[in-house]
Every structure is written in structure tokens, then in C-alpha cells.
């Protein structure tokens, strides 16, 4: 049976400066990141014949080829969802290069989410989607926004409260994730938030939507990230050491509204659990083989649920797993978000996590896991979602 296993590789990565306010349009930051990724790969825009983006991305393929002067696209696609899209872009790009639909595919996310960039109509583009809620609700929003359930933090708070109820998880466990990721960011010059924090800082930060506090929430960042995906055959001649895509998969289901599986009876039914089974089967590996994990972390407890979904600990045991130091670089059994993640490096809708996964494979992370051979990167683990395993 044909598989995506070892058919493609990431050979270029690029990103902009990350900041609360860059004063640049989303079109501009996309161009900067994509040009950097193409240059990193040792290619030129003439070599690019595919583009994959999030379907909510404001930069269309046309906008990108118009600015970068890409002469001829053969493949273009968008992936459903926001945080659920991340690794799905790599799935599509890998499929395209494996089947000859394209030779070199750019995948990217550009976003101005900083408050100063996004208030009002905004000449810089971007914005918090929930701030643009219309007065008349014609879609599934009508079943929760009229009750004041509006933002991602509020939606996800529902899932995390249920996890606390079922398993005895505490907000201190949430805080341990935030503290560990900030310690990673402290070593990363690209990170927006580098001042170390203690558990007391987390516990003292203000409530956003209980049980989530301010320091459980990702940053709101201006910036963009991009990668170049090519076939394994082409990757052998690449300028940079390739990060081979050992496995890549998407999953959705069974039922969800927005970010939260309100209607799923148990968290075990998340798309994250399904895609976990798919990628380990494709890769032929076990969770204990993974050297570092880049988990989608819009909120700190998303790391807890991901540790369970991806089999690093049993359901309900993620709090104790984190308390034992397992996610902290360099001593943890599976260092998580070694760049600082969305909580402390930048919130580029999870795309900076793919770049950090590639750095770990190349050996260039500021929190480098020694001899890292296998790195897991995930999309938001409530469905729709996706994940990839990168190898040296």
C-alpha cells in the first residue's frame, strides 16, 4: 500500500521577527517569512510550484505569487481550521511532492494578532476573530455565543474543567507547563516573552475564563512562519540537512463545535487520539521513541491533554507526568516546546512549532535535545487536527 512515510522532507524554514506590534501588513510578513524559507532551502521563487495555506489565511495564493514573482503554480490548497490546520499543511504538501503534483511546496501562516495591529478595521489586517462577531448569527455560533461563550479561552475552559473533575488535575499542573515553556523561551532570542516565571506568578495571574488564568493563555503576536517541502529524492541535494517527514496525518471527529468537543462524552474521543494512532502506525514507532514534542499550546492545559492523546502517559496522568519534570529541557524524558511555544515564543497559530521541530532535527535549537532523531509536532488536539513526525 502506498504511504506518505518517508516520501517528503522539509528543506527550508523562515520566519519574521515576532512582536506584539510589527507595524506591517499580513501580506508583508507573509512575504518576508516565505522569502526567508526559500532562501534557507537554497532555492529561488522560480523553483516554487506549490503553496499550501490555512483556509482562514488572509493572504491568498494569488497575493503570494504576485509579490514573490512565482511564475507558475501547479498545486495550491487550504486546510480547514486554525490551530487544527498546522500539520495538515505538511500532509498536503507531502502528498503533492510524493505524487509529482509539485516539486517544491511553500507552506506558511502569516498573522497579525497583536492588539495594536488588530483593533478596529485595521490597516495591518489580522485581528481576533471573536471581536468581529456579527449581531446576527447564521451558523453554529448561534448555539453558544448568545450565552456569552465567545472566545477560544472560554471554549477550551470547558474541556479543561472536565479534565480536572474526572482526573483530579489542578491549575498548579497548568502552571507547571507555563513555567517550563517560559524557561525554554528564556534561552531563545526570537521569543517575545523571555523573563522567567515561577508557579506563584502563574497562580497570581488574573482569571480569564476559569479555570484558565492569564499565564495559561498563548501570546497575541504579529509575525509569520514558512517552510519549503520537497520530495525525498530532491532533498538529498538540499542546502540544509533535510528534516524527513517520517509520518503525517490528519483526523477529525466524531462531533465538535468550534474548538471544543462539547458533545463528546469523553476526552478520549478527541481527534488528537485518532491522529496519534495514525501517525505511530505510519511511522512504526512508539511514543518512547520520540526525542522532543512540539505540542499545539493555545492554552497550557492543551499540553496536558496532548501528552495523554499522544501516549506519553495514561489518560488522567498528565498532571503528575508534568510535575515529575518530564517536559522540561534538558532533563525531561520528552522536552516539550523547546522554543517556548505559543505561550512564550510567539503565537503564529502553531506554525513556529514546525520550525522548531526542524531545528531540533538540524541540531540548531537554543534548547537542543542531544542527538535528537525523532520529533513530534501537532496541531490543536481537539479536532479537526493533525500531526507529523520528523526524523533526521
Amino acid at each position: 500500500m502506498t504511504s506518505l512515510r518517508d516520501r517528503a522532507a522539509i528543506i527550508g524554514i523562515g520566519h519574521t521577527e515576532f512582536s506584539k506590534h510589527l507595524g506591517k501588513t499580513e501580506h508583508r510578513v507573509a512575504c518576508e517569512a516565505i522569502a526567508a524559507a526559500i532562501a534557507d532551502a537554497g532555492l529561488t521563487p522560480n523553483d516554487i510550484d506549490g503553496i499550501v495555506r490555512y483556509d482562514i489565511e488572509t493572504n491568498t495564493e494569488l497575493a503570494i505569487i504576485y509579490s514573490l514573482g512565482i511564475p507558475h503554480l501547479r498545486f495550491f490548497a487550504g486546510v480547514t481550521s486554525g490551530g487544527g490546520a498546522v500539520c495538515g499543511t505538511i500532509v498536503l504538501a507531502a502528498m503533492a511532492v510524493a505524487t509529482g503534483q509539485a516539486n517544491n511546496v511553500v507552506c506558511f501562516r502569516a498573522r497579525n494578532r497583536g492588539k495594536r495591529s488588530t483593533s478596529g478595521p485595521g490597516k495591518f489586517g489580522g485581528g481576533r476573530p471573536w471581536e468581529k462577531t456579527p449581531q446576527l448569527l447564521t451558523d453554529a455560533y448561534q448555539y453558544h455565543i448568545p450565552f456569552g461563550l465567545v472566545t477560544p479561552a472560554q471554549e477550551m475552559a470547558m474541556i479543561y474543567r472536565r479534565h480536572m473533575h474526572e482526573y483530579g488535575t489542578t491549575t498548579e499542573h497548568f502552571g507547571m507547563v507555563a513555567v517550563a515553556l517560559r524557561a525554554h523561551a528564556a534561552r531563545n532570542p526570537n521569543a517575545v516573552m523571555r523573563a522567567p516565571i515561577a508557579l506563584a506568578d502563574h497562580q497570581g495571574s488574573r482569571w480569564i475564563a476559569e479555570p484558565l488564568r492569564l499565564l495559561d493563555c498563548c501570546l497575541e503576536t504579529d509575525g509569520a512562519c514558512a517552510v519549503v517541502v520537497t520530495s525525498v529524492e530532491r532533498a538529498r541535494d538540499s542546502r540544509q540537512p533535510p528534516a524527513y517527514i517520517l509520518a503525517a496525518a490528519q483526523a477529525e471527529g466524531p462531533i465538535h463545535i468550534q474548538l471544543a468537543d462539547y458533545f463528546a462524552h469523553r476526552q478520549e474521543e478527541t481527534g488528537g487520539r485518532a491522529v496519534s494512532n495514525q501517525i505511530y502506525a505510519m511511522a512504526g514507532i512508539e511514543p518512547t521513541d520520540i526525542d522532543a514534542a512540539m505540542f499545539y499550546d493555545h492554552f497550557s492545559p492543551a499540553v496536558l491533554l496532548s501528552l495523554e492523546d499522544y501516549g506519553f502517559c495514561a489518560p488522567g496522568e498528565s498532571g503528575a507526568f508534568v510535575a515529575a519534570g518530564n517536559i522540561a529541557w534538558p532533563s525531561g524524558s520528552v522536552p516539550v516546546n523547546t522554543h517556548g511555544g505559543s505561550l512564550s515564543e510567539a503565537f503564529i497559530h502553531g506554525y513556529n512549532h514546525i520550525l522548531e521541530g526542524v531545528r531540533q532535527i538540524r541540531g540548531t535549537s537554543t534548547c537542543q535535545v542531544q542527538d535528537a532523531e525523532l520529533v513530534l509536532v501537532t496541531s490543536s488536539n481537539t479536532d479537526p487536527t493533525g500531526a507529523i513526525v520528523l526524523r533526521r
Binding site: 461563550l149 472560554q154 475552559a157 473533575h165 476559569e210
Partner: protein
Amino acid sequence: MSAVQTGIPVPVPNPDNQGFWDSCRQHELRLQRCLSCGAWRHQPRPMCPECHSLDYEWARASGRGTVYTFTVVHGPTLPVFQERAPYNVVVVRLAEGPYMVSNLIDCPVEDIRIGMSVEVVFDDVSETVSLPKFRAVK
């Protein structure tokens, strides 16, 4: 419960969910129930996910349920809701099985517990829209 609350984003019913919002307006909780296999469902949708029948009725639900999970919102949130923060949002598991996002009324946020028994009440938020909300059953 009858004060008109202006500024809340409100649903625009369509042919697939008109029966739900119409029943709320009449202060009755009605959910879709499959005429082929009898399965209850919410949120409304055109096809039964159990047996794929397109035939359904808007069946009167008991209005009883338990709190499955909840949050207490401090903000940021939309301005119309921010002025009442901190406020609760709950997920109720209805006696018939489906889940529903709502609010608990007349309940201090510190008294909300997962598993508590609740019953439906209706909140007229505009000239044409009533929302199903819940209160604790003593």
C-alpha cells in the same frame, strides 16, 4: 426573566433549526428526534447521524439535565457580556442525552458544581428570540 436584553448576538433560524428556536420562543424545549430510529439530537441538523433518516419531529424534551462542565468568564469577552462579568457558561447534559451550552440563572458562581441537577427556564432576550437557560433543582 422577561426584560429585553439588547445587544446580544442572536440566532437567525433556518429551515433546519426553525423548530428549535420557535419552541424556545413559546417557552418549550423541543429537540430533534429521529422518526426512523428515535434518537434525540442537538445541535439541530438535517440528517440523523445514527440511521441517516431525513425525517424528524420537534419532540418535547423534559427540560431536565445535569451540569457536565462549566466556566466562569472574567474576560476579555464581547462588550455586551463583559459588563456582567464574572458570569457562568455551562454545558448541560440533558436527560434525553444531548448536550447544550447555556447559563445557570439565580446561582452564585461559587455554588456551581459538575453533576448538579438543573431544569430549563426561558430568557426573552429580544422581541423575537428566547434562550433556553437553566436553574438548579432544589
